[in-house]
């Protein structure tokens, strides 16, 4: 009998403010240990928190982007636990009155369909510091630079039914926070971290006991960790065992999850309202202002790309997955005046180049302006599409512009009727047998003859003209 997986994700997104959530300490990445940890972050007696208004606005921006209810009256709470990288002995978080209430996110699945995933809530909280267990032999080093960095924890409903859906949700979330410019979403740097709640059940049955997989730090590992956990739970249940509700860690080297130790009493955080922070009032004016500043979001941009540029839903989806990709495409499309060619070049050739070099589009070795110039040269028939690929490779390698490469290397397409006629005559003379086959009705030989002519011209003859002229000559 079949099993159905039920998955919910808790995603921590680091908000890209300049200063911390409750203090004016810098959040810049890569500073020396503890150079960005000041008296409030260290919980010195007498210090008090003051909420960062920009962090609050970022949280509201996210809420409005997913059509969520905004908590007009938002409360901070203390979540109490002891750990050396948490100097205050509690994390300031939100329990019953989060900034962002119920909303939803539409995810795009591989088969082209969409699914709406509920977002239960999103609340603001501060990050902890870092424990460096490997720093010293018998002691642990503590770096508190990260302590107090603002996070938005986004909790999904248990609406996801497979590891692939979970990854699609995470990717959409990543795309939204990047479009909103509230986080760099970089999973490898910990700016976006994911915990997954996983259970399985027979379809239609009540929810099974869930386990929580902690801190998985890439899209690929999220998929692998969830798949491992689903298989593990199936094995346990099919052997007549029971799932224990517990927190598990994913080990990417061994591709398995295993229980965390010593957590038997830890999940009792004794929350209570933070007496040092007053209730946060979020007024209609603030919401109106933030709503008016919302950028075009990925789903809206995808619809516009389909309507305005005539792209397929698939192409529009690929090109709007990241804001940088969408901006790049629009620059190319507007620069060259042919959106379909631009879509093709960006999603095929450019994407292949970026994958090969393992680069982000922001670091693309070929600028949008250069790619637009290249497409213009295809459109005005200066070069063929095939030669364009050669030029593209060279754009990626050096500082030369499109026209410079074409001129210096003599790649200009031959469109002169006289020259093409000479080529065609020579091909017919040298391939008399094939020419006769064509005349006898074997149409497919034409491709071979065109190929010979292109070879003779070293790729520079205009293939459409060669084709046309060959056909004319052989049929006359």
């Amino acid at each position: 009998m079949e099993w159905e997986a039920v998955i919910g994700l808790e995603v921590h997104v680091q908000l890209s403010t300049r200063s911390k959530l409750f203090s004016g300490t810098s959040t810049a990445f890569g500073a020396g240990p503890n150079t960005q940890a000041n008296i409030y972050d260290l919980a010195m007696p007498g210090t008090l928190p003051v909420l960062n208004g920009e962090a609050l606005r970022m949280a509201v921006r996210f809420g409005l982007a997913i059509d969520a209810e905004i908590g007009r009256h938002s409360i901070f709470d203390r979540k109490n636990y002891f750990y050396p990288d948490l100097p205050k002995g509690y994390q300031t978080s939100q329990l019953d009155y989060p900034v962002v209430g119920r909303g939803s996110i539409v995810i795009n699945l591989e088969d082209g369909t969409e699914k709406r995933i509920g977002v239960t809530r999103a609340h603001m909280e501060e990050d902890a510091g870092k424990s460096l267990h490997e720093a010293f032999a018998d002691e642990t080093g503590i770096d508190l630079n990260r302590a107090g960095t603002p996070l938005l924890e986004i909790v999904s409903d248990p609406d996801l039914r497979s590891a692939k859906e979970a990854v699609a949700y995470l990717k959409k979330l990543h795309s939204i926070v990047r479009y909103l410019d509230i986080s760099d979403g970089d999973m490898s740097q910990g700016s976006m971290r994911c915990d997954a709640n996983v259970s399985i059940r027979r379809p239609g049955a009540d929810l099974g006991t869930r386990t929580e997989i902690k801190n998985v730090n890439s899209f690929r590992f999220v998929e692998k960790a969830i798949n491992f956990e689903i298989r593990r739970q199936q094995d346990v249940l099919e052997d007549g065992g029971k799932i224990v509700q517990e927190t598990r860690l994913y080990d990417s080297v061994r591709d398995e999850t295993r229980p965390m130790r010593g957590k038997e009493v830890a999940n009792d955080y004794r929350y209570f309202p933070e007496p040092d922070l007053l209730p946060v009032e979020i007024g209609e004016d603030l919401i109106k202002q933030i709503r008016s500043e919302l950028p075009e979001l990925p789903d809206a941009r995808k619809r516009r790309f389909a309507a305005e540029y005539g792209l397929s839903a698939y192409d529009a989806g690929v090109l709007t997955a990241s804001r940088e990709m969408a901006d790049y495409f629009e620059q190319v499309a507007q620069g060259c005046g042919d959106a379909k060619l631009a879509a093709n070049w960006v999603s095929v050739e450019l994407q292949a180049l970026l994958n090969r070099e393992n680069l982000d589009i922001a670091d693309s070795p070929v600028s949008a302006g250069n790619l637009a110039d290249l497409i213009l040269r295809i459109r005005d028939r200066t070069i063929s599409g095939k030669i364009a690929k050669t030029v593209f490779e060279q754009l990626a390698e050096g500082p030369q512009g499109v026209d410079e490469i074409i001129e210096k290397q003599g790649l200009r397409q031959v469109t002169d009727e006289g020259e093409i006629e000479k080529l065609v005559d020579r091909v017919i003379a040298e391939n008399a047998a094939q020419a006769q086959q064509f005349r006898d009705g074997k149409q497919q030989v034409l491709g071979y003859l065109v190929g010979q002519a292109m070879k003779l011209s070293r790729g520079k003859a205009n293939p459409a003209q060669v084709n046309e002229l060959l056909r004319d000559k052989l049929q006359s």
Binding site: G24, N38, V50, L132, G141, L144, L277, P279, V280
Partner: protein
């Protein structure tokens, strides 16, 4: 409240309750809980939950860096530090 519950709360709060104190602490916490029960019994239908007794709202701070690096001075306050890190006894979990 049972003694085992007192032990659990003490563990969570990192407090050491000696056997000699245990009976007294159990009795006093029991009294506090009884008072809370009395408060819980009050009918609060229609009353908005109150998170803070002050009739004021949270002031917001501009997102500006106002704190300078005071690492050396602050590290020196801790019992132990090395290589710019605070140093604590080995933490095993997780």
């Amino acid at each position: 409240m049972k003694k085992s519950e007192i032990d659990k709360v003490a563990t969570l709060a990192r407090l050491r309750v000696s056997p000699a104190e245990a009976d007294e602490v159990t009795a006093r916490i029991g009294e506090i809980l009884a008072m809370i029960d009395q408060m819980q019994a009050v009918d609060t239908t229609g009353v908005e939950p109150l998170a803070h007794p002050l009739d004021a709202v949270q002031r917001l701070r501009a997102d500006e860096v106002t704190e300078a690096d005071r690492r050396d001075e602050l590290l020196a306050l801790a019992p132990s530090n090395r290589n710019g890190l605070f140093v604590v006894p080995k933490v095993i979990d997780p």
